[in-house]
């Protein structure tokens, strides 16, 4: 190992441990002792990670309250940052909260973190063309059964047993902490970006089934079957029509595919 490698590894250890060893490589200087000099870097590392994660996890910050700093420091100690973009250090926080004590005893925290992180990743996901509603008008009747909708690639569906969306909304709007509510049954949440705006909303079980089916590439007829399982055959088609109209309005669909119809994406044949 070279001298430079040794020095950098010693400094790394000094940065990450709670009780840094005495480093012979550091030069004593009159104006301040070595411990306080090293503390500038050690404190800076922790503060930077905290600040970056607090920005990404606004809802979690509001939900965790005074425990938030302790939570973030625990995560940083367990998971040193490995990504050049400090933001991406946050990618492992939901899984950490799900598994690490004492946080896993409060499952609402992991649920909250999942919504925060989905919002964060959708924010700067790749730009995608959106299918104009008018393009559907040209689909011939015989092509509909086999038609496959292509939802945007960044779209995410989450499931939570708590009112995590209320916390995120309150955090974004600077409102006071809402009361934590455990829902009667877990609820699905859709997170996506409409042009440049990140959006999220709760979705019913039937919409979740149809949208998840579309994400898997299922044909339009299969999506209708999924809605029939929830609503009965008579209501399946009107419900599908209403959902399709909403998905197009919200910019959730990027393109269409059908064996009897040219491949369409973002309003143009490819």
């Amino acid at each position: 190992m070279t001298d430079l490698q040794t020095l950098q590894q010693h400094l790394l250890q000094a940065m990450l441990t709670n009780a840094p060893p005495r480093l012979r490589e550091l030069r004593g200087e009159d104006s301040a002792d070595i411990t306080s000099r090293l503390a500038v870097y050690r404190n800076g590392y922790r503060i930077r990670l905290r600040d970056a994660l607090a920005t990404e996890y606004a809802g979690l910050g509001l939900m965790a309250g005074h425990r938030f700093t302790h939570l973030l420091d625990g995560y940083a100690a367990a998971h040193p940052s490995e990504h050049y973009n400090i933001r991406w250090h946050g990618a492992g926080l939901p899984a950490y909260l799900e598994h690490a004590l004492p946080w896993r005893e409060k499952p609402e925290l992991a649920d909250m973190a999942r919504l925060d992180w989905a919002i964060s990743t959708v924010f700067d996901a790749a730009d995608e063309a959106v299918l104009p509603a008018a393009d559907l008008a040209g689909v011939p009747a015989e092509a509909w059964a086999d038609l496959r909708l292509t939802p945007l690639g960044h779209l995410q569906i989450l499931t939570s047993a708590y009112n995590v969306d209320a916390f995120r909304r309150a955090a974004d709007r600077g409102l006071k902490r809402p009361r934590l509510r455990r829902l009667g049954k877990p609820r699905h949440m859709l997170v996506w970006r409409q042009t440049l705006e990140v959006r999220y909303r709760a979705i019913q079980a039937d919409e979740c089934a149809a949208l998840a089916g579309a994400m898997r590439g299922e044909a339009f007829s299969r999506l209708c079957e999924r809605l029939a399982e929830h609503n009965g055959p008579a209501k399946a088609l009107p419900r599908m029509a209403a959902l399709l109209s909403q998905w197009l309005d919200e910019g959730l669909i990027g393109g269409l595919r059908a064996s009897l119809w040219p491949v369409m994406a973002g309003g143009g044949a490819m």
Partner: protein, 283 residues
């Protein structure tokens, strides 16, 4: 391509600012005396969304330069080719006037410390950095600028002064220098060297850009926080830098406690007023 071919001359851009979200709208509405913008490269190494949409608008209005914090040119870990490929991709897309980073290391053994860690000023470190700068310049297909960092520790094994080390890196690797005037002031205070000796030791032909910024007084050390107005002692050092290096593209870096744009525009005007008589004399 090899390092021999990076011979293009970089232009003079005048007086600029670091692009910050708080100023997006104000800068487009009333750029005033802001002649160019420096972006933090990592903020735009992303697939899409709002930051890149804003960047497109600024690209149309201002000359841009890319300033990174993650090249980790002094690390003993291998170069991060994934990072460099993304950096090269962004540079191809926005066509910056130049690309810069810091003379430091930011992590080792796969851990990122997200800080600008100083190097020991040894022949070993010099050879290591020079080799890596050459390789980065070949990957990017352009000369890069390296910035001097503020530091709070120094190393017993250092054989050179910081300015000797910086100058030697620039000469041997054929790269340019981004001289941060505030960082010189901060490190001079923290380590007890002469800031003027530092300026005298830097080859003028290598100086492509100045940074100006504010700092914080710790108990015994100055801390480079970029969260306050530029202080008189840094302005004085800026004058000395202009006296030595002449006309150099200058910008103000503010990363925290971001004031209204007009406050930074007033600081840019102050920089202009300080430099103007010296540049007239030199003309």
């Amino acid at each position: 391509m090899n390092s021999e071919s990076h011979t293009n001359q970089l232009p003079y851009l005048g007086y600029g600012l670091g692009l910050r979200v708080d100023h997006y709208e104000a800068l487009l509405e009333n750029p005033g005396n802001v002649e160019w913008l420096e972006i933090v490269s990592e903020n735009y190494l992303i697939p899409g969304g709002r930051p890149l949409a804003w960047l497109e608008r600024f690209r149309e209005r201002f000359p841009l330069v890319m300033h990174g914090v993650s090249m980790s040119i002094g690390s003993t870990d291998p170069l991060d080719h994934g990072y460099l490929a993304r950096l090269a991709g962004l540079a191809r897309h926005i066509e910056p006037m130049w690309v810069s980073d810091h003379l430091c290391w930011t992590g080792v053994q796969g851990v990122n410390l997200h800080d600008l860690m100083p190097l020991p000023y040894t022949e070993e470190a010099l050879a290591h950095v020079v080799d890596r700068v050459r390789r980065v310049q070949d990957i990017l297909g352009r000369r890069i600028l390296l910035e001097n960092v503020s530091s709070y520790i120094s190393f017993a094994q250092s054989q050179l002064t910081e300015w000797q080390f910086l100058a030697a890196v620039a000469e041997r690797a054929d790269c340019m220098i981004l001289l941060d005037i505030n960082n010189i002031h901060v490190s001079a205070h923290n380590h007890g060297f002469s800031a003027l000796d530092y300026l005298d030791g830097i080859p003028p032909a290598r100086v492509q850009q100045f940074h100006l910024a504010g700092h914080e007084h710790g108990e015994r050390l100055l801390i480079d926080t970029h969260d306050a107005p530029i202080v008189d002692s840094v302005w004085d050092l800026y004058v000395e830098a202009v006296r030595r290096y002449g006309r150099v593209s200058t910008m103000i870096e503010r990363d925290d406690h971001i004031p209204p744009l007009t406050e930074l525009q007033a600081e840019l005007d102050h920089a202009r007023r300080l430099a103007a008589p010296l540049l007239r004399e030199a003309a």
